[in-house]
Amino acid sequence: MIHASDRWESAILIALLSAIVLLTIVTAQRGRKYFVRRIPGLNAIDEAVGRATEMGRPILMVPGLSGLGVVGLQALTIFSYIIKTAAQFGNRLIMPTADSALYTVAEEVVRDSYTAAGKPEDYDPNSVYFLSDRQFAFASGVAGTIFREKVAASFLFGDFFAESLIFAEAGQQVGAIQVAGTVSTTQLPFFIASCDYTIIGDEYYAASAYISREPTLLGSLVGQDYCKIIILLVVLIGTIAMSIPALGAKWFFIQWFTL
């Protein structure tokens, strides 16, 4: 599907989902209160930061391999909340990045978070750095850092590929408390096997709303839930139609989604 006109009905569904999200965002910004359920892994963040404080060892944050896009930015948003907590306790921070464009933003996010926490003087410009955009060169650098610094807590959020297990096992072996979340579903099993807490699926996108309780984000989250209900309904209707011989694949509703 290159253009909406290739299959208008499908494109309208995408537009409809977008509209729903925008609508709930606007109502939330106008003061409507929304609820978000507990996400277990995220409650562990304070625990992890606390542990790092006790041990006096640094906290590692890796925003994944992807560039300047929604996934990497979401990781940085989550990190900015963690940094604000960590800044209160004076934890040392290490954030290696794998993309130069994302690195520039990361550097700003970290600096701003220290300022927002009221500790601009604690910000260490060497704590955020660009390491490599080559997957396994990056992995070798991060793994080496984990072992050398014996990190106390490790937060892996973003787009990860095969290197996920290198980070997670290295952290496991130095006894770090690890919280991970990724949009790469194929890497989730390895995080689950080696990390203390794993954020699964779109809990990743819900995380910033959960931690910040920002109305915009909560509104968006509610909208996303409505969208998922719509998709579920579409799947149900399609399935039922396919099961009725008189309707089948030729039925107009099914054709709407046939590219």
Binding site: Q135, F136, Q173, T186
Partner: protein, 278 residues
């Protein structure tokens, strides 16, 4: 005091690692004859090449880099070797990673003297293209116009004898893609409809499970399942290459994993029964 059973559930990882390394080395040095059944998917690739029309061109598309060469290189090798045995004309084309054209070229270049294959007459390298969808869409209409020149000699395609009478996918008799990613979408979506050539796939074993749907539906004629697929293929070709050697340690390492998981669980239950900490 820690009992034997408790130790079993906490074996120092260094012992695990050294055992693994040892098993790999021994497995590579001492070929232990382990049973290997040739599966229907590998046979599908074999039959497709056996049945391919020698007047038509075979296309081997590659999309892999050094990081997955453990599986993809032997796959590329067995397919090219079989094509050469059958004296089929073939072309290499690469997508995804610029490295993949160099790596695949090397494999073919190495085998060529053995079968008397001459570049430009019996085989050709179309080279790397960044935009797979655009390239394939163009090739469906006209291969020469889309690709323009080869990569080795950088000459227009029509100057090569191999390209005589080859216009589009109607003149292609066999397509295989050796890949570390999910590229089949482009091939099946954009090309499959405009050719009778069977489409075969040689993915890494991580990617392979995704493809069964298409094998089931007949869109993919055959598949080499990672390194195991290459080993099965070597067996059908009757050659003893790297994968025939490598398949022993592959099996041994997985058996090691089973044993370790067993020991860990045994240790956990045994120490629980003894009232130890689980």
């Amino acid at each position: 005091m820690s009992s034997f059973a408790e130790n079993l559930q906490n074996i120092d990882r260094r012992y695990l690692y050294l055992t693994l390394l040892l098993i790999v080395v021994i497995g590579l040095l001492v070929p232990i004859p382990l049973p290997l059944a040739v599966g229907p998917q590998a046979r599908g690739v074999y039959d497709a090449i056996e049945k391919a029309d020698p007047r038509k061109l075979a296309i081997v598309s590659t999309l892999w880099s050094a990081s997955t060469q453990g599986e993809n290189r032997p796959q590329t090798r067995v397919i090219i070797e079989h094509l050469m045995r059958r004296k089929l004309k073939f072309a290499l084309i690469a997508f995804g990673d610029p490295q993949s054209t160099i790596l695949a070229y090397e494999v073919a270049d190495e085998l060529a003297p053995k079968y008397g294959y001459k570049y430009g007459r019996d085989w050709i390298n179309f080279g790397f293209r960044a935009d797979i969808a655009g390239t394939l869409k163009g090739m469906v209409r006209n291969i020469e116009e889309t690709l323009k020149q080869d990569t080795k000699e950088r000459k227009p395609l029509h100057q090569f004898p191999i390209m005589k009478g080859i216009r589009n996918f109607d003149d292609v008799g066999f397509i295989a893609e050796v890949s570390a990613s999910a590229n089949y979408v482009s091939w099946l979506g954009l090309v499959a409809g405009s050719t009778d050539a069977p489409f075969c796939y040689a993915p890494t074993s991580v990617m392979a499970p995704e493809l069964y749907t298409y094998i089931d539906s007949g869109q993919i004629a055959g598949m080499l399942f990672g390194i195991k697929g290459a080993a099965e293929y070597e067996r059908m070709l009757g050659i003893k290459g790297f994968t025939t050697r490598a398949i022993t340690p592959v099996s041994l390492t997985l058996i090691l994993l089973f044993v370790l998981i067993g020991l860990g669980n045994y240790g956990m239950f045994a120490s629980r029964r003894q009232g130890g900490k689980a």
